[in-house]
């Protein structure tokens, strides 16, 4: 796996322009007071950047040669999951850190509002997205899977963002009071279990798909 991770890291380091833009937004959004958005945004970017490594793999028929190299197909799958789930979590954590720093720098306490919730939502959301996207990418290849999965991801993103910000307050109150009947910890545990289950199913599917794939 070391070789595969190294390959992906070396490929990703070429995106300097993209990273500069991300840094720009990562600074701008908190400055504009959009704290939780920063977290969801960076988390999503982390996931997208990680999964783009599959595009690099596929580019110019590269997969044929890649899969003749010395690694097991199951290792390839494991590496992609670590990269994508890790990328999403890392992005979200980075976003959280940026918010925290920005709140100290600008003295805007509103930025800290909903930070923890956003972080949790982001982590769970993007882990779930990875679980959905990776089997699709592995089965159909990066190009064909890309459209389907980006649509899925956009839907998830909108859902997440919408849940956090656009529910009318009354709806939120109802939601919240309803939730208050279940302790937060309980909800969290159930969500985490759901995501873990999703990842488990997803990995099994991906392993099955990769073993059948021809290059």
């Amino acid at each position: 796996m070391k070789g595969l991770l190294l390959k992906d890291m070396l490929l990703l380091k070429n995106n300097k322009k993209l990273y500069a833009i991300l840094v720009f937004f990562a600074v701008m959004y908190p400055m504009m007071g959009m704290g939780s958005f920063t977290i969801t945004f960076l988390g999503m970017m982390g996931l997208i950047i990680s999964i783009s490594t599959m595009n690099y793999d596929e580019f110019d028929n590269g997969n044929s040669f890649l899969f003749s190299l010395a690694f097991k197909r199951s290792t390839y799958v494991a590496e992609k999951y670590i990269l994508c789930v890790g990328g999403g979590i890392l992005g979200a954590l980075l976003g959280t850190l940026v918010c925290f720093v920005a709140s100290k720098v600008t003295g805007n306490p509103a930025l800290l509002e909903g930070m923890a919730e956003s972080l949790c939502v982001a982590v769970l959301l993007y882990s779930l997205s990875s679980s959905v996207m990776l089997p699709i990418f592995i089965r159909f290849g990066a190009e064909r899977g890309r459209l389907a999965s980006y649509l899925t991801l956009a839907a998830f993103f909108l859902l997440g963002f919408g849940v956090m910000n656009f529910l009318p307050d009354t709806g939120k109150d109802v939601f919240v009071s309803g939730l208050q009947n279940i302790p937060i910890a309980g909800i969290l545990v159930r969500l985490v279990l759901l995501v873990v289950l999703a990842i488990f199913v997803s990995v099994s599917l991906s392993l099955r798909f990769i073993r059948k794939r021809e290059f």
């Binding site: 070789g3 390959k7 290792t75 290059f215």
Partner: protein, 288 residues
Amino acid sequence: MLKINGLKKSYGDFHLDVSMEVPAGMVVGLVGSNGAGKSTTIKSVLQLIRPDAGSILFCGNECGAGGSLLTKSEKEMMGVVLSDSGFSAYLTPSDVKSICAAMYSKFDKNKFTALCRDLEIPERKQIRTFSTGMKAKLKVAAALCHDARFLIMDEPTSGLDVIVRDHVLDLLRAYMEEKEDRSILISSHISSDLESICDTLYMIKKGRIVFHEDTDILLSRYGILKCSEDQYNEIDRQYICRRIKESFGYTCLTTEKHFYMENYPKLVIENSGIDDLILLMEKGENVS
């Protein structure tokens, strides 16, 4: 090292059905026109595609239809060069060095650096800036640096000029000289390359092996006869296996050129090479 038996794969109208062997210590050449089945065979050995039927024994392990997946250590024993696929174009040779070192336990970084220098491959430029020839050189270099026991190469010298080809072939010969039990399976369109390194040749046509002979015998015993229609009808044709109709009569492939040299001194007889073989096998007809 490698034994292929009854390997079958079908794509629509195309049906592959081959049996061949690469013994340890030998260089085996594979020739055939595009689409004949060379790449399909090679990809089946590498398990990039799954055969419909047949056995592929690699170092005694069954890897064909119904066999097991190649283990990591088995893959480390292979050095691979494919014609239409390579390392990602956004990597540099220096990146390739690091990646291979992490993937192959016996990868020799110093040897790779020296080889890149020798082949004039710039270490820090991205592969997408390379010419076809340079890309080919890098592929070969990467395959030679992890002490692979078995090199499997699909057109490793295509896109290279004569001088560089000579250099690359010499690297391959040196590679064989270093250890007794190494083997190479090499497919190529450049016949002179194969003639200068291969011990045995297989020719694939429409998914089947149509010719299998030691290079030495092809070059020393086989021959090309050129004769008029009359001459053709007069001579003893028991050692002629293929012929092509020409304007002057026939060009024939014989398995015993010395027979004809001694008995028909007036006949035009030439040494045969892989190119002649391919032309006669592809375009000629059988002589029973």
